[in-house]
Symmetry: C2
Subunit: 481 residues, 2 copies
């Protein structure tokens, strides 16, 4: 379905490198009828927009007020089915959390009506947070997993949708595949379904999803590895999240050199594998992952919540590993990648606090992430993790228009008009006549300051509109684009 050619006019920001932003304060980006970026014109005098040949009838979307276009976020690890449990985890850690909170909820997705309600909500929510691409774990149920693929397709979110394979060990009786063969067959059924709605996997891709080694038999892992070899369909799983889990894998797979080797031996460790967490990798495991060019999803909110640990992200980046961010709902409490950026920044600071025995806190650029680095992980890093670095994560000619319109509102100079407090006596109209969100810009802020304020203080209220492949997939109430 062809789109109307569109000119996006105004400032844009994206990541130039891991450590630097490219802030273009006045630009025109032309997006063609296929949702691809046809040209990027920088330093444009917006009062004298020259009309390009062939773009005379293009729609124009201009930034209104203090804002910018930013690449859509990429969530490289999220359990769509666990969304109703977001924020509910008590003082649990990984293995008891699975049994107490997770498996009971996931098993209820045999109810398609329930699945529909939850999946629609989480896809709408992630879109509203600016997530244009998500790697979803569903449940073991084929119909519900296929429904999630349908919902992403309908709502226009780019997604990797995985039926969870789990057939042994830690899998409870009430929630497991009947056998390795059934795991394999059901994985194929979900691949076939996605092929039926999106034959080239252009927007929606299936993804082979062994839950993690402790809930899979060696036979099932081998069958899934074979399936990957035959189809080229990507893989997602969990790796080295917490110490008891790692010890358990050692017991369950005594013949393996280490946890990473369990996947590698089964043909599941390739350049198309996304490994969630990787908090406690040994140097040997890191070397193997690099050798295979497998990818890492860093999930700091979840790792803090379940006290799994602090993944040494900067050290892994220095070693050349490919890393993106994952919200890991509902180990993570939030489906927002912007909030996850904050968590990544704070986790890296906690690592700095922990590592520092010299008393010279904060000298350590070796552990602290910068805002720029966090945003890189959330966009270009994530794009590389999902193998789409040529199509998404930045604004380059030939890439898809997966973007969000960010706006911060400037506090008025005079009386605080947009913030009128209610008064018990006067009965005036109440605070925040328009809900401008939490970020207050006073006018003195540089572009860098504004980006910092957005990352630390912003939320979905600053994401005014979201596009995937040029299609408008979300806009806030009252925003016209």
């Amino acid at each position: 379905m062809a789109l109307q050619k569109t000119l996006y006019v105004g400032p844009f920001i994206h990541c130039r490198t891991l450590t630097t932003l490219d802030v273009c304060t006045s630009a025109v980006i032309g997006v063609d009828e296929y949702g691809k970026i046809a040209f990027v014109e920088r330093d444009v005098d917006q009062s004298q927009l020259a009309v390009r040949e062939g773009w005379e009838d293009a729609k124009v979307v201009s930034i209104d007020g203090s804002g910018w276009f930013f690449p859509g976020f990429i969530d490289t690890h999220i359990h769509a089915s666990q969304y109703p449990n977001a924020g509910i985890f008590g003082k649990s850690t990984l293995l008891d959390w699975l049994n107490t909170y997770t498996f009971p909820l996931e098993s209820s997705f045999s109810d398609l009506k329930k699945a529909s309600r939850i999946y629609k909500r989480i896809v709408t929510r992630t879109l509203s947070h600016g997530t244009t691409t998500a790697c979803y774990f569903a449940t073991i149920h084929v119909p519900a997993t296929n429904l999630l693929a349908d919902i992403c397709h309908d709502k226009g979110q780019r997604a990797f949708v995985g039926r969870v394979c789990m057939d042994s060990h830690l899998s409870p009786d009430f929630y497991r595949d009947e056998s390795p063969t059934v795991s394999h067959e059901k994985a194929m059924a979900c691949i076939d379904h996605v092929r039926s709605i999106d034959p080239t996997f252009d927007l929606i891709s299936p993804i082979i999803t062994p839950r993690f080694a402790p809930s899979c038999s060696a036979e099932s892992l081998n069958l899934l590895g074979k399936l990957h070899g035959e189809t080229g369909v990507p893989i997602q799983t969990h790796l080295c999240e917490n110490p008891p889990e790692i010890r358990l894998v050692k017991e369950l797979f005594p013949q393996s050199k280490h946890y990473t080797d369990v996947y590698d031996s089964a043909g599941l460790l390739t350049s198309k594998t996304i490994l969630a967490h990787c908090v406690h990798l040994t140097p040997e495991e890191r070397d193997l992952i690099k050798l295979r060019d497998a990818k890492i999803s860093h999930c700091p909110a979840s790792n803090a919540a379940l006290t799994s640990g602090c993944a040494p992200v900067k050290a892994m980046l220095r070693e050349g590993m490919t890393i993106g961010l994952g919200t890991d709902v509902s180990g993570g409490y939030t489906p927002s990648i912007l909030a996850e950026c904050r968590e990544a920044l704070f986790t890296s600071r906690h690592l700095c606090i922990t590592n520092d025995t010299s008393g010279l806190r904060g000298k350590s650029d070796e552990t602290k992430l910068s805002v720029e680095e966090a945003l890189f992980l959330a966009t270009r890093g994530g794009a590389k993790v999902v193998g789409l670095e040529d199509r998404i994560g930045g604004f380059e000619v030939g890439m898809d228009w997966d973007a969000q319109l960010i706006r911060l509102d400037v506090v008025s100079e005079g009386e605080d008009e947009t913030l009128v407090n209610g008064d018990v006596n006067g009965g005036e109209e109440a605070t925040f006549a328009e809900d401008v969100g939490l970020v207050d810009v006073f006018g003195h802020e540089s572009w860098d300051d504004r980006v910092n304020k957005w990352v630390y203080g912003g939320d979905d209220r600053n994401t005014k509109a979201v596009w995937v492949k040029g299609r408008l997939v979300h806009r806030r109430h009252g925003v016209s684009v």
Copy 2:
């Protein structure tokens, strides 16, 4: 000014003890014309509200939908003047952060117009986050500090407003009191001003505010200690935030036993002293603080951001210390105490990660805070820190009605009606016709679950209305109370 007697009808929740909530699912709380709780009736059949004698003409405020009344939050440490820098701190740590970001901004509060714009905004913001009591650091300027007191008084926020005293050492030339005597005189001038607008310090209290030892001369500290002795006005300052600061104090005050002793020797360590941070106290210092019954403001967001460290809150609670939460804007990025609860929960988990060398992560109830404990710190704990535990922090007869109305919206059963996605072709009306906030309740959640979802996922959108001493001081657009 007398208020209309009001009956607050619906569920309420407050902290019973440090570790338990009191959830009353159906109650009537009567608040008299002085804003005090006259009675609390539990387990009320709301369809047959009996009319009490003398309350026939009372106004009725009922919970509409899925919500509850909750005590207002108490922010025991916030720099109102630093609000424009919220989220802007880069990779700095305390001492360079002060010079790079803080002193230049604070010094500009000689401009009263600027001060007015910022102070109005931050007071309105904190109210909208449910903060009914705040302990503010202002700047060294008397007129701007007095203006902050006026603004709190007008807007109805209970506040402790302190002019910052700083006359030596780390204080830059462009931003310091001229002498210890001037520090003392200006402190008195601000006390006098508050007395002129609120003679009994009923809503607004002055607070003696030596910035911290590294920016104060011994003479100035002594004069302020004397002022406290003469007036009984409370004190706020910083203590043991990061190691370089502690080393600096050791150099500057070689005659003192330790950092805490610097304040104690000056008569500044009493039961009316609020000590922000206390990340790195020695056992001797903790003993002295307990002996003096001084209070602690825990500021986890700031301590993580500036890599100051993780205060061992549970250990200090076990020792019987009195602790509340502080946002410490702008070391902290957020003026929300709800967000600060989250940060306290995560900081305690990071401490658990750090301390645990056994690999048995998460067994450690000795460091992990619970949601109940975080909420206690935010309400009853804070109340005790500011010396008002008999008046605020819970819903008991005789206490003031300092409260917030919390509401979480339930996701509809059918199609997700409240979340209609915009479509590029159809041009439908966009997402979130009413902005219900980020917390999604699906209906299966217990009261505990709802509280957990609120703490981890909620924001100002869930705080529908706020009262201080029975006066409505904030309500969200469209909320009628």
